[in-house]
Symmetry: C2
Subunit: 462 residues, 2 copies
């Protein structure tokens, strides 16, 4: 690929500048609810896309100033259009005390940039933009039309993305989509994902008494925390695996092609997870190939937060009146959030917990592209070419990205590219990205634009 010689030199030369740019972007604490920081990050995105030379537009919901706007930036021309599905919001950075350096004061050490958003998604978005900048400067006209769709509610379930896109439905028309995610293993093997899970976030809540009582009455008054504990205990086996009947409702059986792809995912993926998180054992005694299959193909049932009574320092001798658990359930094609919520309700009722409320907070469906689709093949091919290592693909990343909202209407094929490492700590304290990987991701993105334009055919998802 000699066409990229000048390009690759520019990437090396400009990396320091770009890293500084990413650090700037990561200074916005663009968490849900922080309107000012979200607006700051959106404005920064608009300005950066404008500086690139893109046509930039802000898509807002009429009469809803509380909804974080969608930033749209379009650049280039050609017979193919590629949607880049990105976001400028970030996960909450709490608990702050577990960060080595403050989450919104980006710090460079050990060849990495540490900050909330360093990977997810600011550090994945920018290399895809830098690739265009470097292309324009070293190669010339872009080979295809690239459309950035940068939303501000991705980390809270892309609640209004559908409504925002409905105001500009032409934005959903594209030949392919590049979504966030995709990674490089600790050993350097790139992998791409042909899909992502959907998600349901919900809260369980129970009240046992009118208000918190003095705990001396605990011998007679029912404790909300204990009540919720008993309800939750029925929802998982003691080995940690979900025990709610109907959690698998609506699953479309994997095709032989998908099964075959799962067989090719190296065990290294699992080893990296185990090495990083060091669990005593995996859920349900899973190991090896069965764990890889579960990561690709199974729904999850996860407690993300649990709270009741007095949780501050010291002690407070009360019997709590209320208890809460927030759960997320990752779903796969073609599961319907309403059906899964009904199964959970039925489970609780069957177990005698009619008093435990189920409150839906958000949900989105899963979207999978066949893993042998040319767009996925291309993504894997360019990732291998740049890293110089044989990679692999997965049927679905374990996480959730708003592919369904962007791609389902026109059955647009979607893929990821290799970018962050498996120890990037997305969503956790000390989130980071390796500076080297920023250069790699920039190189991979440019090759992908090039190869997509050259594909003889890009069929829609069947």
């Amino acid at each position: 690929m000699t066409a990229f010689e000048a390009f690759d030199r520019l990437v090396d030369d400009r990396l320091d500048t770009w890293v500084e740019e990413l650090a700037q972007y990561c200074r916005f604490a663009s968490e849900k609810g922080d309107i000012e920081a979200l607006r700051g990050a959106a404005d920064w995105t608009i300005e950066r896309l404008g500086a690139l030379g893109a046509d930039v537009a802000l898509v807002e919901l009429p009469g809803r100033p509380d909804v974080a706007p969608l930033v749209v930036g379009e650049i280039g021309s050609g017979p193919r259009t590629l949607n880049l599905v990105q976001h400028y919001d970030v996960q909450p950075a709490v608990p702050f005390d577990l960060w080595t350096t403050p989450p919104y004061e980006p710090d460079i050490r050990d060849g990495r940039l540490f900050a909330r958003g360093a990977t997810d998604n600011k550090g994945e978005l920018l290399p895809r933009l830098w690739a265009l900048e470097a292309w324009l400067e070293t190669i010339g006209d872009l080979p295809c039309r690239v459309r950035f769709l940068v939303e501000g509610e991705e980390e809270s379930g892309s609640e209004h993305l559908d409504a925002l896109l409905d105001t500009r439905p032409e934005l959903r028309r594209a030949d392919a989509a590049l979504i966030e995610g995709g990674s490089i293993t600790l050993e350097g093997t790139p992998y791409v994902a042909a899909g992502g899970r959907g998600i349901i976030v919900l809260e369980l809540a129970v009240r046992t008494i009118a208000y918190d009582a003095h705990s001396s009455l605990a011998v007679v008054l029912p404790n909300a925390a204990v009540r919720l504990v008993h309800a939750l205990a029925t929802m998982w086996s003691t080995d940690g695996s979900p025990a709610v009947a109907g959690l698998d409702a609506g699953i479309r059986p994997p095709t032989p092609g998908q099964r075959a792809v799962v067989e090719t995912v190296p065990l290294e993926v699992l080893e990296d997870i185990v090495g990083e998180f060091r669990p005593r054992q995996l859920i349900g005694g899973l190991e090896g190939r069965r764990a890889i299959e579960a990561l690709s193909l199974s729904p999850t049932l996860n407690v993300q937060g649990l709270w009741s009574g007095y949780t501050g320092p010291g002690a407070k001798t009360i019997t709590p009146a209320e208890a809460h658990a927030r759960l997320d359930i990752r779903i796969v094609p073609d599961q319907d959030p309403a059906e899964i919520l009904a199964a959970l309700r039925a489970h609780l009722d069957r177990e005698g917990f009619t008093d435990v409320e189920v409150r839906e907070i958000e949900s989105e469906r899963a979207w999978w592209t066949p893993p042998d689709h040319p767009v996925v093949e291309t993504a894997l091919g360019v990732s291998e070419a740049v890293t110089g290592r044989r990679g692999f693909r997965s049927v679905s990343m374990p996480g959730t990205v708003p592919m369904y909202q962007v791609c389902a209407a026109h059955r647009v094929p979607a893929t990821t590219l290799g970018a962050a490492r498996d120890d990037c700590r997305a969503h956790a304290p000390d989130e980071n990205i390796r500076l080297d990987d920023l250069a790699t991701a920039t190189r991979i993105a440019a090759r992908f634009y090039d190869a997509l334009a050259a594909l003889p055919e890009v069929p829609p998802v069947p």
Copy 2:
């Protein structure tokens, strides 16, 4: 009791002034950890006791400025000495949003004063002091020696009370002790308690992975919240009753006298609790007499707080690495905190939860005076005389007060007096005291001082 005519008039005349004084006292947010507010409340106590004419001393632990000091005030003379066991600290006021008016901005409405500490213990301490003030002004010399022992760590388990008293061991020498607690039912029936439970506060903690993971990995990584839920679920039956073997270790069987007293406690006590807290049903299907017995004689096992993962607003898609529960266990004579903690550890080990840590936070033993002791008889008699209603006594209040530390060394008999109502919301939002009951408590205290001095004999606890 014509001797109290002038006294009773003065109580009526001065009540407004005294209520204002209580409001002042309640402005100190003297919660554990708020050194400034604790010191403010201690200074206020010293000044008030000084204004009464008491000899005041501050007892501190050498080299431990972090330990809230004990305020001692002694006044009067005579052959009998009475210890008043009180405190100037308060329970945490959180959650603030459940208070109708701010907890440290006392508000008078509907004939009550609302504030944290209104009952527990500022509104119980002051009437005992006002009784002395009114006595001195309307009757003359006090009939006995009264010693206020006002500590600043009662709500967090009186951790240093023993050590503070050890520096002035003569403070434990007394003929009797008046402790906090005791009450008037909603219908107006006074009751006194001959003892209080002990308490153990502890934390359960478990860690399943090195740090919080992205919840997309929940299909393989063990969730700390789920792990703790399973451990906790083994500790209570689904009807809410404790299921830890050995929780009853060391219980001294109640005497026939104690059993007889429990029989005399009116069901109204339970009805008031049920009316106030409106549980669907009581723990373990308890009702009526059996519930009254449990309130008097049984240990408890209570979750006061439960927390894991992300508990803020919105959502955070993590699998928590750690989970915590804070528990309190109320114990009865002669239970040993160490033995109970060992039983809990053994229970968790037996159930397969060796990975769940048990951390003791504080503990104190129970102290019961025989319910037919003359000091208890006297307390009940004067409460009945002032309220004009037949009262009752209990073997033990359901809660904990530091009687063991003050009384056990010299086997001092202890009792409560009728004071706050059963809907005073001690430890809860909207804590309050009725202004009428402040006058009643002042009158009862004066009669108790008088009657104690007149008792022919005050034997130590056998």
